[in-house]
């Protein structure tokens, strides 16, 4: 069974640009979560998508947004990039029957110059 996949693995952008990160969940999983792991700040919850809808968001500005597609894959968009957006962005998925058990992808490392 394939795990959670994320692309790209690395992304380099400059301030003010937009970044798009992609995530494919484990087959059969309907929930996708996005986390930011910045140096020294631990895992910060960003967004939760389930059945195509945004269900909850963490304490991040609106320039962090995303969507979930009918095949349950997901996209995270970060507009107007700032230097402090540099971080590892992790995607996780879970099944409808056990939402608390999250399986993580390898992450996308975003560097904003």
């Amino acid at each position: 069974e394939a795990g959670v996949t994320q692309s790209p693995t690395h992304l380099i952008k400059t301030r003010g640009q937009q970044a798009t990160l992609r995530c494919s969940p484990i087959s059969g999983h309907t929930s996708v979560y996005w986390y930011q792991q910045a140096l020294g700040l631990g895992l910060q919850f960003l967004l939760w998508y389930d059945e195509g809808e945004e269900r909850n968001r963490g304490n991040f500005p609106p320039r962090f947004s995303g969507r979930q597609f009918p095949n349950y894959s997901s996209e995270l968009n970060v507009n107007a990039l700032e230097l402090e957006d540099s971080a590892l962005y992790l995607c996780a998925s879970s099944s409808a029957g056990m939402r608390q058990t999250q399986y993580f992808g390898p992450g996308t490392r975003l560097l904003v110059l």
């Binding site: 959670v4 994320q6 929930s31 979560y33 631990g42 895992l43 919850f45 939760w48 389930d50 269900r55 909850n56 963490g58 992790l90 996780a92 879970s94 939402r99 608390q100 058990t101 999250q102 399986y103 993580f104 992808g105 390898p106 992450g107 490392r109």
Partner: protein
């Protein structure tokens, strides 16, 4: 609200020695408990989880954890570590009957195994 405290930010240990990584939590409701491992430049991998039943949970790579409700702890142990266990370990709690977005992760414990 829930909180998770990983009591050690770094744990150095020699190869083949036992190790314990400590995790305490607080919660006003019942929770599920998890340990994840993050190897350098990788995502998080689920090591083990406690949902219900036996308080001693066995996970992958020879790790186990014991849920102690009275002490609100979920310490991770391994009887003999290998160099390859060098990684960061995260304890997490998630309240029952909610979406995973309420999962709270600890700050992490960096395990460094020396030869």
């Amino acid at each position: 609200a829930q909180s998770v405290t990983q009591l050690d930010s770094q744990v150095p240990v020699f190869e083949e020695a036992p190790v314990e990584l400590r995790c305490n939590y607080s919660s006003s409701v019942s929770v599920y408990l998890f340990w994840y491992v993050q190897y350098p430049n990788q995502g998080l991998q689920l090591l083990l989880k406690y949902l219900s039943g036996s308080t001693l949970v066995k996970g992958i790579n020879g790790f186990e954890a014991e849920f102690n409700k009275s002490q609100t702890s979920f310490h991770l142990r391994k009887p003999s570590v290998h160099i390859s266990d060098t990684a960061e370990y995260f304890c997490a709690v998630s309240p029952l009957n909610t979406g995973g977005f309420k999962t709270i992760f600890g700050a992490g414990t960096r395990l460094f195994v020396k030869a």
